[in-house]
Symmetry: C2
């Protein structure tokens, strides 16, 4: 069962929707996996989507809705009235998915939908979940889980599980609680399945259980599940009572979003965007960095302005302006990226800031030595100008060391004060290094031409 | 059960290892989760590590070994002889972990270890797995799985599972095969647990099963598991026979590595490094981009050299060299990052290259309009020089459009020819745009000063 959406298949769907001919392709659509149906749905315009949705069977429609791209889903939900959303979708969903989708509705529509949910328990679960911050363990968890009390027998346990399991698609772990609903361990299905019928939960369960508190942030959840290779993680409240569970698929999304966010920040994109967003949104996400870069460029022009007389006498100084600026930017991006990634992967260890800076100093010296030797030879041989050669060579070294130390220091500092260190990667580091690089270059040049 | 490694705890461990006093901290070490023990191990030097390892209980030692950082593990394994590796580690491990660790040994040591594995099945599984490319489905899979034949009864099924399950820590899914070992479906533990005893596998199993062929690459595996929210994915051979299964924890690692790799490429780091690597390795990973950037800087100097006479008459042209170069670089990084991410997330849809370029053209025009208006006003008002103002404004627009289109085109082209589009992000795009930006700026400047 492998499906790949082709252009031809998509065309066939679109034609069937438009003309009403060859609709067998639409009638067979429910045989596909909801994630595949969602892939088709994402490519349709609003008019097509409205028709398409009528062909989806009951629960499949809600599974498809969860898998849609966020902007497609938002647009689609606007075309539906609250009763339809409540009955066709929310009633059929896991509480975590339902809450995620409710959070995308306007406040008024949200209240309307909640009042129309038929299953009272589902409605109350959703209201509970909506209280949590989207990026916290509570915001990621689902309420559906299987729990058994520690003093039950196996037959009682299986009987209770039969009741509880109805609502749950995948049972990975059975949670064991005490009489006050406090989480005290887990029971694997394997053990339950393979145990003699007379055993008691108390003899079978495993006391070693990882958990998170509901208020912990999504990134910590991802780190714990990744570190301990967990597929599901229970969530407890302040009284250690079991209130939900987080599954790995939601955490994979968190990991991908975190990585995407860092990548975009490093690339100078200031809000979370997707290549399919409108040109206007993409422009809005890109303009801020360009403006920061422009501010840097204007500062740069002010510095060069100071040395305009010198440039008139020694126009060859202009030759290496791009080189010096680019090198500062490059070194800054490299060193900050390594720190940002080290912080994200928690692989920096216990080295203090001083140890980090010393190491970066060493790296910068080595890189600086190689680069400045090459540029010295080039300048000396091609331009036959020893003052310029020494200036460029010295400036190159100083810029590489400064940019390396600055790129290391800033993300470490931001992290210390609980600011996202990835903010330091793109615009801030390169622009600062561009400007400082020019100051260093002309400063040294000024001195050299007076001296030699 | 939450553990956080503190500096004090680490110091206590190190002191106990060195002095042999207060060794209770070492005797209790086995109570920790292997991933936590590995975190401590990662911070020890070789001498400490060798002593520390003696305190680890049998199977725990092998669980810890898997969790170590790669370079720490490699160093540690060098201190052990083949017999110890085979007996204390490989014999206790899942086949996929064992194969991963074997792949890190030298060829000679690997052969030695294999000949010393006591469990013949384990040895043959490892040899099998070592044949697969590390970055393929076969390289990610483990051989341990639970499979039942479709015509078995439930009691027979449970009896066989009891045998098979001994080797397996987590049972998520039971695979159903036909008499020729072909994968035909899955059986959930939940269904098995809740079914009446008289049912047959044939009545209970689910025919809809996702799978991968052994030669498919790790990235496709990650995409399938992410798309369909799978926790485990079966691997089949060319004859559709079930040969292994991949679990989500290994795929999370693939996703993280892919993201790290793209992030590093975009930051101009040319090999996969970690902040804890040696200064020499970090220098080696960073130098290539700096050299590419330097080559770009030298090209830039050649272009400026062509216009040296013009600079002597109009030294104010030098003022905006850094601005033009930086803007070209920034726009190129932004547009290529959006394409690279869209390709990685498969969210580019069916738009052709022409549609992409048209959209980028529109975005570039909007960004260009804002940036060039600001710089025009600044130059005109501050420098009171209309030729310069028009030059900078025009050049800014042309550079932004060129850099945007170039940054969009190159990764799309690379992808078309099956080259990793992330290669286009860092050095290549910025350096080219720096150089082309200068050509555009001086070209326009030359023309403007002649004209006005």
């Amino acid at each position: 069962m492998q499906f790949e959406l082709t252009k031809e298949y998509l065309e066939a769907v679109k034609t069937a929707l438009e003309t009403g001919e060859n609709i067998s392709v639409l009638e067979q659509i429910n045989d596909l996996h909801p994630a595949d149906i969602a892939e088709i749905f994402d490519e349709l315009n609003s008019e097509e989507a409205e028709k398409f949705y009528r062909y989806l069977d009951g629960e499949i429609a809600s599974d498809v809705l969860i898998e849609l791209e966020e902007d497609v889903r938002e647009k689609f939900l606007k075309t539906l009235d609250p009763a339809e959303i409540a009955e066709r979708f929310i009633d059929n969903m896991d509480s975590d998915d339902a809450a995620d989708i409710m959070a995308e509705l306007s406040d008024e529509k949200k209240d309307n939908v909640i009042s129309l949910i038929k299953d009272a328990e589902q409605a109350s679960d959703i209201v509970d979940l909506l209280n949590y911050d989207e990026d916290s363990a509570g915001g990621l968890m689902a309420k559906e889980l299987i729990k058994v009390e520690v003093d039950w027998t196996i037959p009682r346990c299986i009987k209770e599980m039969r009741k509880q399991a109805e609502d749950i698609n995948n049972v990975y772990t059975i949670y064991v609680v005490d009489s006050k609903d406090k989480l005290i361990g887990t029971l694997s299905l394997k053990k339950l399945l393979l145990a003699p019928a007379k055993s008691k939960i108390a003899d079978l369960y495993d006391e070693n259980v990882h958990w998170v508190k509901a208020y912990e942030d999504a990134e910590s959840v991802a780190n714990i599940m990744d570190k301990y290779d967990l597929v599901v993680l229970p969530v407890i409240d302040e009284l250690n009572r079991l209130i939900g569970r987080i599954t790995i698929d939601d955490v994979v999304d968190v990991i991908k979003e975190e990585a995407d966010k860092d990548y975009q920040l490093a690339s100078g994109i200031s809000e979370s965007v997707d290549s399919s967003d409108s040109a206007f949104i993409l422009t809005r996400a890109r303009l801020p960095w360009l403006l920061v870069g422009m501010l840097g460029g204007i500062f740069g022009s002010l510095i060069i302005n100071q040395y305009e007389d010198q440039l008139q006498i020694h126009p060859e100084m202009a030759l290496f302006i791009p080189l010096i600026a680019a090198t500062g930017g490059n070194v800054g991006v490299q060193s900050s990226a390594i720190i940002v990634q080290g912080l994200a992967n928690k692989s920096l260890g216990f080295d203090g800031i001083f140890a980090r800076l010393s190491k970066e100093f060493l790296i910068a010296l080595m890189n600086g030595l190689v680069c400045s030797s090459i540029i010295f030879l080039y300048t000396f041989m091609v331009k036959d100008n020893i003052s310029l050669a020494i200036t460029v060579c010295l400036a190159m070294n100083v810029v590489i060391v400064f940019a390396g130390l600055f790129g290391t220091f800033i993300p470490l500092m931001l992290n210390k004060y609980n600011i996202d260190p990835a903010l330091a990667t793109g615009p801030f580091i390169t622009t600062t290094n561009d400007v400082v690089g020019l100051l260093i270059y002309f400063g040294i040049g000024h001195f050299m031409y007076i001296m030699l």
